[in-house]
């Protein structure tokens, strides 16, 4: 059997992906094949973790979200229609999971005793390089609507069209929000030396 799709078609996924192989694996995973699902996870595990880290700025939070995504995807595959690249859909799942994670943290933090300063997390020990830490911190402090297009387009290399598909907005919206994100970062970095 020869699949109809093409590796470099107009609806291809982000750079470094193999849509046809993903589609084959998704088809088998949806049929209950756990080994196909595990292979999908193996192929995308670094991408899942990287997006989470860039969205949340903390390795500890990225760990949590990556594990949640792996479990969520297994049950959510049934809802993947296959009309877009698997990676486009994966980006959407990971981004939404990150946003939910952040919202849950925020509401949890509101209940914390503010008299007790927060102890620096393990990320302080894990992330090397002041530039990298400063960048992650600044990006994770962006408002949601600016952070998502910045991560997708600026950092992950998606096109405006692909980012619009992930966020279910228009290319013009992505373009405008990305421009605002860049301006915000420039302003926030004013003390960076």
């Amino acid at each position: 059997m020869i699949s109809a799709g093409r590796r470099h078609g107009p609806d291809e996924g982000p750079p470094g992906t193999d849509d046809e192989a993903d589609r084959w694996l998704v088809g088998r995973a949806r049929g209950g094949d756990r080994s196909a699902y595990e292979e999908l996870v193996r192929r995308h595990r670094d991408r899942i973790y990287r997006i989470a880290l860039r969205m949340l700025g903390s390795p500890a939070d990225a760990d949590d979200v990556a594990q949640e995504v792996v479990i969520q995807l297994w049950t959510a595959l049934a809802g993947f229609g296959g009309t877009s690249a698997f990676t486009t859909w994966l980006y959407r799942v990971v981004v939404n999971r990150c946003l939910n994670h952040r919202r849950a943290q925020r509401s949890h933090r509101e209940l914390e005793d503010t008299d007790h300063p927060r102890v620096p997390g393990p990320e302080r020990r894990v992330l090397a390089g002041e530039e990298l830490q400063a960048g992650l911190a600044a990006i994770s402090a962006l408002p949601e609507e600016q952070r998502v297009p910045l991560v997708l387009v600026q950092l992950e290399g998606l096109s405006y069209r692909q980012a619009a598909a992930v966020t279910k907005t228009t290319e013009a919206t992505v373009r405008g929000r990305l421009a605002r994100a860049r301006a915000t970062l420039m302003a926030e970095m004013k003390d960076w030396t």
Binding site: G5, R28, A66, V70, E131, L132, R182, A183, W192
Partner: protein
Amino acid sequence: MTQERTPDVVARGRLACGRDTAALVDQVAEGATDRLDEHQRHCPYCQAALAEFDRLWAPVRAVSTHRPQAPDGLLDEALRRIRRIAADPEYGRIEGPRGRTRISGRVVVALARHLASRVPGVRVALSHVVAAGDGPETSLEDGPEVTAGVVGGSTVVAVTLAADFGHDLVALGARIRATVEEGIRAQTGLEPVAVLVHVDDVLL
């Protein structure tokens, strides 16, 4: 040369020369700081702003070039929860002069998948554990993934894969068989009595 503080410049939206600062920010963010147009080549305001924006953008560039990998074992627990496999009862045994080595069938499966996936023309190969030995009979005819039955010092492996379009599938199968047989023999000491190859799909 006049140099203005960045936040003020960004907030104002225009340099003293009249250039739009948002366009300069985009120029830096897209890695085109050095690609000056005719105006910028002679404008101290633009050159100063580009240099300052480029300096301030360094942390974002650091994030962009950072390629973190998921920590080892991070997703294993999640996969275990899905798999719900408590234990793997399937082992191969290799008798040696200094004792017995037990090799899990899962090792053979993972090794076979690894070996097969590196044969040119193989787009993706799968792995799967099936019971063997005292467990339920292994069905190699129907097994659509890499499956391995391990009994004593012998093993039977079945590999199912998606191939790249344009390859001679018979020759591809022969190459996979040879690679997997040789690799398993060399790396585990088990004797692969059969390597069955099933090409499930051809991808463009």
